[in-house]
């Protein structure tokens, strides 16, 4: 078990913002760090793919629109992506509380990131010295060296949370009254609205475009179309939207 937890904590580092090893930000934070991918890896490691994917889809949907402009991170999707499904599986808890569990996990991740962001100032100042000496390798060393901090501050907390969290969660769960469970389920149902709302806030400048969102909503509710079908239709629509707009932006 210790080995499995170690691997998960390691992945939580590799998928963290700033970790460069797997194709930089692209393969790291934006791929390994996405809850759906993370959950699948957790499922593979812990041998319960089904629960992992269930949790993964739920929390991925919830944090689907996370962006980090200027490194400001509202919730740390990487920590959420690895720690939430792992804790759920390890403590055999109801997957429906995943959205709620994700909240404290995500905030711990944000706190860590903010610390890293301050500590890294140190490397910038040392790099300045190397520049004056014309020492290019020194600058390279500073850029890479920052990963020692990143590793330490990502791997260790993740490991500890998993190691102690699973026992704690099991205990906790026994003591929670049913009404709280119901409450957490209700919260879990609404929380994804936050991620979607943040996305809408970002994409929509002209309110009438909200109508397109509603159409997507209804295509599922009324016609039961799968998302893949809707995405393909949407892509066709987008192509002609672009073609026929003749350079005039309405929502831009």
């Amino acid at each position: 078990m210790i080995i499995k937890i170690t691997i998960i904590a390691l992945l939580a580092y590799l998928g963290a913002i700033g970790a460069p090893w797997i194709l930089g930000t692209t393969g790291g934070f934006y791929t390994l760090g996405r809850p759906l991918v993370a959950a699948a890896l957790v499922g593979l490691i812990l041998g319960d793919m089904q629960t992992a994917l269930e949790v993964g889809m739920l929390i991925q949907a919830m944090y689907i629109g996370i962006i980090t402009p200027g490194a400001v991170m509202p919730f740390d999707v990487d920590y959420i992506g690895y720690l939430t499904p792992a804790l759920i599986i390890l403590s055999k808890t109801d997957p429906n509380i995943a959205p709620t569990l994700a909240v404290p996990v995500g905030l711990i991740g944000v706190t860590i990131w903010n610390l890293i962001w301050v500590i890294n100032v140190y490397f910038a100042h040392r790099a300045d010295k190397y520049a004056v000496e014309g020492n290019g390798s020194g600058i390279r060393a500073m850029n890479l060296g920052a990963q020692i901090v990143n590793f330490a501050m990502r791997f260790i907390p993740a490991f500890l949370i998993l190691y102690f969290g699973r026992g704690f969660l099991q205990e906790l769960q026994k003591m929670i009254p049913p009404i709280i469970i119901h409450y957490l389920t209700v919260v879990g149902g609404v929380l994804p609205a936050l991620g979607i709302g943040m996305l809408l806030n970002m994409i929509i400048k002209d309110k009438s475009y909200f109508g397109i969102f509603v159409i997507g909503f209804m295509l599922v509710k009324y016609l039961n179309l799968p998302i893949v079908a809707i995405a393909i239709m949407g892509a066709v629509l987008a192509v002609f939207w672009f073609k026929f707009q003749g350079g005039v932006s309405y929502n831009g």
Partner: protein, 271 residues
């Protein structure tokens, strides 16, 4: 007259690759991606400046504050490489010019990049991946993990080369033509459609209110479903959106709001 020093394709590729992998490595509140920028310029500097003084000047020049959406931001590195090349060949380009260009491109490319990539493309691909996962399991995340990085890696390298070849003017022309906005329009249509579909599956709010009169029980949720299924979930989204956009509340604030409102709702037996 001295021979024109041209950056070799290999140098350009190494410069891009350094940036692509290490752009976020030492981000900090003071310098942001500054060290990473300088790091990615090392191959260029090494090839262009044999003179030690020139090299030191170049290193200092690129160690200042820098920040951009890193994946499409590589276009700036291409432009910068082109400027350095011209400078090394005697053009009158001083530190200030190069920095001005970098700063001028940073802002708009961050805005466009964050909107198009984590704001639109990633959510669309993830929504599709969730859809696939729902029916075909682990094929979903695999799909995402293959398609996304491949597409972005190619695009990012292409943009670096484009920046190098087009130089500053080319980039500005495109950004001013409005085509990028129309592209964003079209992509947002796709994105909104898919997000709407996703919301229909993953956001769930329903009321438990019942009226019992005699032997007949009327469940309010039943009636709502008959009028417009998912009405409350959609309402929840609209409220969140309203709080974020019109009321300018922070995401954390809204999260607290949701916790409290649902708590009250559960206590009052509304939800």
């Amino acid at each position: 007259m001295a021979e024109y020093k041209k950056l070799s394709p290999k140098t350009l590729f190494r410069s891009w690759l350094t940036w692509f992998f290490f752009n976020g490595s030492s981000q900090s509140g003071e310098r942001m991606q500054g060290i990473a920028f300088c790091h990615s310029m090392l191959p260029v500097i090494d090839e262009l400046y044999k003179d030690k003084e020139e090299k030191i000047k170049a290193l200092k020049r690129h160690l200042v504050l820098f920040n951009v959406e890193p994946q499409i931001g590589s276009v700036i590195h291409g432009v910068t490489a082109a400027l350095e090349e011209q400078r090394a060949n005697g053009a009158e380009i001083d530190d200030n010019t190069i920095n001005t260009v970098k700063v001028a491109l940073m802002g708009p490319l961050s805005g466009i990049g964050d909107t198009l990539i984590p704001g639109t493309l990633i959510p669309i691909l993830l929504a599709i991946a969730i859809g696939i996962t729902k029916t075909a399991g682990v094929v979903g995340p695999i799909f995402y993990a293959l398609v996304y990085p491949t597409f972005i890696a190619i695009t990012s390298w292409y943009l670096y080369k484009f920046g190098y070849n087009a130089g500053l003017n080319g980039i500005q022309e495109i950004m001013q033509s409005g085509k990028i906005n129309v592209l964003a329009d079209a992509l947002s249509v796709l994105g909104l459609l898919v997000m709407g579909a996703l919301s229909a599956s993953y956001i769930n709010l329903s009321t438990t209110i019942k009226y019992t009169s005699g032997e007949m029980t009327i469940e309010l949720q039943n009636i709502l479903d008959k009028i417009f299924p998912g009405m409350l979930s959609l309402l929840a989204i609209i409220v969140v959106w309203y709080l974020l956009s019109a009321k300018k509340k922070s995401p954390l604030w809204v999260m607290g709001f949701l916790f409290i409102v649902t708590f009250i709702g559960v206590v009052l037996k509304i939800f």
